[in-house]
Symmetry: C2
Subunit: 336 residues, 2 copies
């Protein structure tokens, strides 16, 4: 199997409060901001190595203050190239302004000045365990971090979700980094902090930072294969054609069964008058984000994924010479 | 054991959406409004009896529309005598206006024109099962309804919670009726409808209405004893003295253990840095509303109750003669 040599990860951003009512990330980043030189950054004390810079960011302070997902519009949909770079006129939504501030701080998206890795912390009301959500199924950094977390946290169900969207159209904060993913943990009601969920997220972030340090210090990570869930489509709730109010809830047999295969004719919804509605697809798929609170307004009752095995290569950090050559390469690319 | 004869319950109100993001009640009342003459009101078809009038009320339409607890202020704290009857000036919060509309519709609170029974539907993020919450531990109607529901729904943990507050100071919508209680079901994240929770609430409301019909038609309900949880005090989260941000979550050993006795020195909170904080009370009490989302802003991490056995008498509806005498009595009381 080939070995891939990748650039050093010098700057990592850990972001919380991108959605102001997803509290694990809010409290974790606040805690990290308190700990100047603590457990999370022991690598800085090792003088022989270049320090890892960890930026801790509270992404949407106004939404956090109101304990709401957002104030004007969903911040985590504001990081497309179009939204970041388009002209604005009239009253600009707060989150659009904030997305540009964050892009200036952590980006610019798609450019060599961007941070190397963004880990954006989220919660869901769905029973999803810990998921890494990314736009790529061939970002070896994200996939190796995922495998590291799986090994280090064997008691927590863990999946890698892939949204197949181009870099220009990718819309979330984690797309601003050279590498990036959302770390999504549930179930937890929005506006609530559950201690076990907080502790899992804290461990996940710690193991992610550990991995980056191992990688930077030259550790070789063996290739292997990984299950990846690629998002195929969303399913909306049944709705009243006039009022658009929902007329059914997720069926009790499906509720909390995220990542268990959904087969044609399996129960999908139970209407408020008691009727069962069934899945009419023609292939079994894997449901996730089942009954996520924030997606009622987006018209998503659940998402469906196809599961694939992805072979990831052995990787190690580039040597200094390789790095220098790589930087030159990037610079000439940007000039074009 | 004595027998108590009580007036007929002619008008019952079933209210949902008092908190706009507690969705079981919102969808259940919407469903009941669709069913003009259905399962819920079969008694109307029995011509030999006086029909039971069931008012179905969506209490806070603006909050429902925004899927928030409230728009300006918590509607379910606006039904004190002072708030309902005080002078208003300047910009009046929407919910204060709405509470007066509801008082005109279902009350006036404390007067003979009020509906006989208010059942106000709520959800909680706490693991409380189904609770009836009332201001009295000697309202035989509420307590007999509670026992009826317990018997009819043996699979659902069910408790009766008593908030010891005078009628004048009682603040919630259910206090507007001659009898009243909140039917609180959890756990369910606010802004989410879980099918099992919806179904439990629907069954609870149906059994409540059935009981009222049995009562009105002369059924005698035997006296017995009932466990009542009387609220003693609230406990807030540990908070940062400067920012007032919370610095700990409910301890994993306590989370979801509503109504399990909490003993002195039992774990209460786990700080975000990992420390365990213990319960320093000097008697075992019963925690409830553990980690309820809406109470973060009220400074309540959990409430504590004392459990008591209450003996409830045998009851039946008054005969027509008794009722006539009772009405006269009430009228002369109101003239005073």
């Amino acid at each position: 199997m080939q070995m891939v040599c990748l650039p050093r990860l010098s700057r990592v951003a850990v972001c919380g409060g991108t959605h102001g009512n997803e509290l694990s990330g809010v409290y974790l980043v606040r805690e990290l901001l308190k700990v100047k030189k603590g457990v999370m950054e022991k690598e800085e004390e090792q003088e022989e190595e270049e320090p890892l810079s960890v930026l801790k960011v509270l992404s949407n302070p106004r939404a956090m203050q109101q304990c709401r997902r957002y104030v004007d519009t969903d911040l985590n949909r504001c990081f497309t190239h179009a939204t970041l770079n388009g002209l604005t006129s009239g009253t600009v939504p707060y989150e659009m302004i904030r997305s540009r501030e964050l892009n200036a701080m952590l980006g610019p998206k798609g450019r060599s000045g961007a941070v190397d890795l963004v880990c954006d912390l989220h919660n869901t009301t769905a029973n999803m365990g810990l998921c890494l959500i990314a736009y790529s199924d061939c970002d070896w950094i994200c996939l190796h971090i995922f495998r590291h977390l799986q090994r280090k946290m064997p008691d927590i169900p863990m999946r890698y979700i892939h949204f197949e969207v181009s870099n220009k159209e990718s819309y979330s904060l984690d797309s601003v980094g050279k590498h990036g993913f959302a770390m999504e943990i549930g179930p937890q009601p929005h506006g609530v902090a559950r201690s076990t969920v907080y502790t899992a997220m804290k461990a996940g972030v710690q193991h992610m930072l550990d991995w980056v340090c191992f990688f930077n210090s030259g550790t070789l990570f063996e290739g292997e294969s990984v299950d990846v869930f690629t998002m195929i489509k969303h399913i909306d709730y049944p709705r009243d054609s006039e009022t658009r109010n929902i007329t059914a809830a997720v069926h009790p047999h499906l509720q909390d069964r995220d990542f268990c295969p959904l087969h044609p004719e399996d129960p999908l919804f139970q209407t408020f008058s008691g009727e069962t509605l069934r899945y009419k697809g023609n292939e079994p798929l894997y449901p996730f984000f089942i009954n996520e609170c924030a997606y009622y307004e987006k018209g998503i009752a659940l998402s469906l994924a196809r599961k694939r095995r992805v072979v990831i290569p052995t990787i190690r950090v580039q040597t200094e010479q390789e790095q220098a050559a790589h930087v030159q390469e990037l610079a000439s690319e940007e000039e074009e």
